[in-house]
């Protein structure tokens, strides 16, 4: 046991002495949470639009003003032709164009029927949909306002309540996801690189000859990163609560416990990668390709998993980040207890044990 701690101490000194790397390991997650928490969001607002008003009457002007005033839209310019609309789209300057035909108000008053055309840049379908929806509802409001005298019979009203995130803040969705991403990456990648570095430098053989069991050596390598990760978890949670206003509604202890579990899972992944990589470069790229992108995609915080083809949905199940993301959302944002997340926790535990098991076997095979 004592030898084990000596090893841990040596590993810790390695990290501690490389101040630059240590600095990055601690500060990067903080910078990222802040950046992504504040900047990453799917919310639609301040979208630039253009208005093509052929009518130029009271009605079209009023509606145009209402639209421009809305926080969803930002009037970039008024245009005078479809061609101009096309050109402006092509220059990437607007996402939506509103077209009022000639005689808009007249049609509305005399025939009780007028048209407005919304042209959306559907390169991003969701944004296009949302912008169209918002514009339509502003137009509907206008319609309501001129119909104030007449009340429609048999009206069904709908009250909508937004749960957990009434202001629809992007951070509520992204912060748990970024937590998963950052922890997974720091742990897995750094561990794998550190182990492979010893291999590459040749000091691995020296260590293997020492009296400590080889696998304990590997574990000793991961402990300092576990400590750094705990520091990261703490800073991320603090930032989420105080800087991003994302509350921790559930049990803090449970959240921290689950985070530590996930860290261990990531470290195990790092060990597995280090077994297969021969050079640090390979370790980094393998981590990047097999960790970063899948975590980004399959954890579910960026793209909805239910949209994916079945095959990919199945694959997403083996990405640990997916389960951790669900746990964080449930505990942190929904305020649920262990009863709601015990299944996911079990899955993470099983994954960790499996990863460690495979790594041990691989390691032994290599030595033999």
């Amino acid at each position: 046991m004592k030898q084990f701690f000596i090893f841990v101490k040596k590993e810790w000194l390695h990290i501690w002495r490389d101040k630059r790397t240590l600095f990055i390991l601690i500060w990067m997650p903080i910078v990222q949470i802040l950046l992504y928490g504040f900047a990453l969001t799917n919310e639609v607002k301040n979208s630039k639009i253009a208005i093509f008003d052929e009518a130029k009457d009271e009605a079209s002007t009023t509606i145009s003003q209402e639209i421009s005033a809305s926080r969803y839209f930002n009037l970039l310019k008024n245009v005078d032709s479809y061609k101009e609309i096309e050109a402006t789209f092509r220059q990437g300057k607007i996402r939506l164009a509103v077209v009022f035909p000639r005689g808009f108000r007249n049609d509305l008053l005399h025939t009780n029927h007028a048209q407005i055309q919304l042209i959306a840049d559907a390169s991003d379908p969701n944004t296009a949909n949302m912008l169209t929806n918002y514009a339509t509802s502003i137009i509907n409001d206008y319609q309501q306002s001129i119909n104030q005298n007449e009340k429609l019979p048999y009206t069904i009203k709908t009250q909508v309540r937004m749960l957990y995130n009434p202001e629809l803040k992007g951070a509520y969705n992204f912060v748990p996801g970024v937590m998963a991403l950052v922890l997974m990456l720091v742990c897995a990648m750094m561990t794998s690189i550190s182990i492979v570095r010893e291999k590459e430098m040749g000091t691995m053989e020296v260590i293997l000859v020492s009296p400590l069991k080889p696998f304990r050596i590997i574990i000793a390598k991961t402990i300092p990163y576990l400590l750094v990760s705990m520091l990261n978890i703490a800073s991320i949670l603090l930032l989420s609560v105080y800087a991003l206003d994302v509350p921790i509604r559930g049990n803090l202890g449970l959240l921290i416990g689950e985070s530590i579990l996930f860290t261990i899972t990531s470290l195990s992944l790092g060990i597995l990668i280090s077994n297969t990589a021969k050079t640090q470069q390979t370790a980094q790229f393998t981590s990047l390709m097999s960790l970063f992108l899948p975590t980004l995609l399959f954890s579910g915080f960026l793209f909805p998993i239910e949209n994916m083809p079945i095959a990919l949905q199945v694959i997403s199940n083996i990405v640990p980040a997916k389960w951790y993301y669900i746990i964080v959302k449930d505990v942190m944002i929904k305020g649920l207890g262990f009863g709601a997340v015990w299944k996911e926790t079990m899955i993470l535990i099983v994954m960790t044990l499996a990863l460690l098991g495979i790594s041990i076997r691989n390691f032994k095979i290599r030595l033999a």
């Binding site: 990453l40 969701n126 119909n147 995130n165 509520y172 470069q281």
Partner: protein
């Protein structure tokens, strides 16, 4: 300049012999490009619906039918109480609950109005927003149906109505793949370009071969160019393969010209490789350079507008994206491929990237010291 020719010869030979590099550079991106677009679909569909129906009348059932047959929603839970329905949301079985109060039909007839309650899991704001909008839209339609059924309208519509027609340009199928593939390609090329180049110089530092270069009459500029050009060619090759896959597998053909893409990509790569080289002149070990280039790449990627729109970001974040070469390329890729933009449409972006390229490479050359 002859020395440059020898440098290039050496680099290309070394790269072509490195099997691991080959796998990383070519095979992995291709796999990513084949899988990622399948996953990267933001479209809101298959929203899981939970219903709590206290009314149990013909009209409540008709409403529920209309919602489930719309194609947007899947009925996943039918509970007796709101509490139960809420539990389904907690477990992520449903995304949205519709609660129909008892006396729904009665109130509508007798008091001329009735209220429905919808609760939405708003953690994913877009899903909640669109889901809410869709269900309200369906309810409105249903409302109209009910009215038409119960009232005889005179021939003229007494109410002024504005009909809103919407057209979707550039992606009429509303296909997310078309939107994401160009962006994913950019991201892959970027990750490979900058990390690889950065790592290479540091590797030479660590191995000691850089000393032999420093002691020779090779000029700094020649050395940097000797690193820049091979990776530039490699990255363009990866880009080409990616464009071929985009065409063959996804049927994505640029509305604009391929040549526009290549011209822009060439300049872009100079910038991004320059950044990688710059980072490597500061790093002492591979571990450091990998870590830094990785985090910088991640920040650049996530804030590039690939996954989330730049307009949605707060002003200060948008400022940051102006210094992010990746966001320019994503924008240009989408513009050229989806809208057919030409060189004159993207001249602002070209100048910006030229600026970046000169800045990063210049700094790298200045910072690199043959003599310490």
């Amino acid at each position: 300049m002859r020395a440059l020719k020898f440098l290039l010869q050496k680099e290309l030979r070394q790269i072509s012999r490195d099997k691991a590099v080959f796998r990383i550079l070519f095979i992995m991106p291709m796999i990513q490009l084949l899988i990622l677009p399948l996953a990267a679909d933001y479209e809101i569909k298959n929203i899981n619906l939970g219903v709590v129906d206290h009314d149990h009348t013909e009209y409540s059932r008709k409403l529920i039918n209309k919602i489930t047959s719309s194609g947007y929603f899947r009925l996943k839970d039918y509970s007796a109480s709101f509490q139960q329905g809420l539990h389904a949301i907690e477990l992520d079985k449903t995304d949205l609950i519709l609660e129909i109060p008892s006396q729904f039909e009665r109130s509508l007839v007798k008091e001329n109005q009735s209220t429905l309650f919808v609760a939405v899991n708003a953690i994913n704001g877009v899903k909640a927003g669109l889901g809410g909008a869709y269900i309200q839209g369906i309810i409105q339609d249903y409302n109209q149906d009910v009215r038409m059924q119960w009232i005889q309208y005179p021939r003229f519509n007494p109410q002024p109505t504005i009909e809103v027609t919407s057209s979707d340009w550039y992606n009429p199928n509303m296909n997310y793949r078309v939107f994401m593939v160009p962006g994913i390609l950019v991201m892959l090329v970027t990750m490979i370009g900058s990390s690889f180049a950065a790592n290479n110089i540091v590797r030479e530092k660590e191995m000691g071969t850089i000393e032999q270069i420093n002691v020779s009459p090779i000029k700094k500029t020649q050395f940097i160019l000797g690193k820049l050009i091979p990776f530039w060619m490699l990255a363009l090759t990866v880009l080409t393969m990616g464009l071929i896959i985009a065409r063959l597998v996804y049927g994505i053909v640029p509305l604009g010209h391929y040549i526009t893409i290549y011209i822009f990509a060439s300049i872009y790569l100079l910038a991004i490789l320059g950044l990688g080289l710059l980072m490597s002149t500061y790093a002492q070990t591979q571990q450091q350079s990998m870590l830094v280039s990785f985090f910088v790449t991640m920040i650049f990627n996530l804030l590039s507008g690939l996954y989330t729109p730049i307009e949605s970001m707060p002003a200060w974040a948008q400022m940051i994206t102006r210094f992010n070469p990746v966001s320019y390329f994503i924008e240009v890729m989408r513009m050229v491929m989806l809208k057919g933009s030409g060189l004159s449409d993207i001249k602002y972006q070209i100048f910006a990237l030229l600026g970046f390229a000169i800045f990063f490479n210049g700094w790298a050359i200045l910072n690199y010291r043959k003599r310490s």
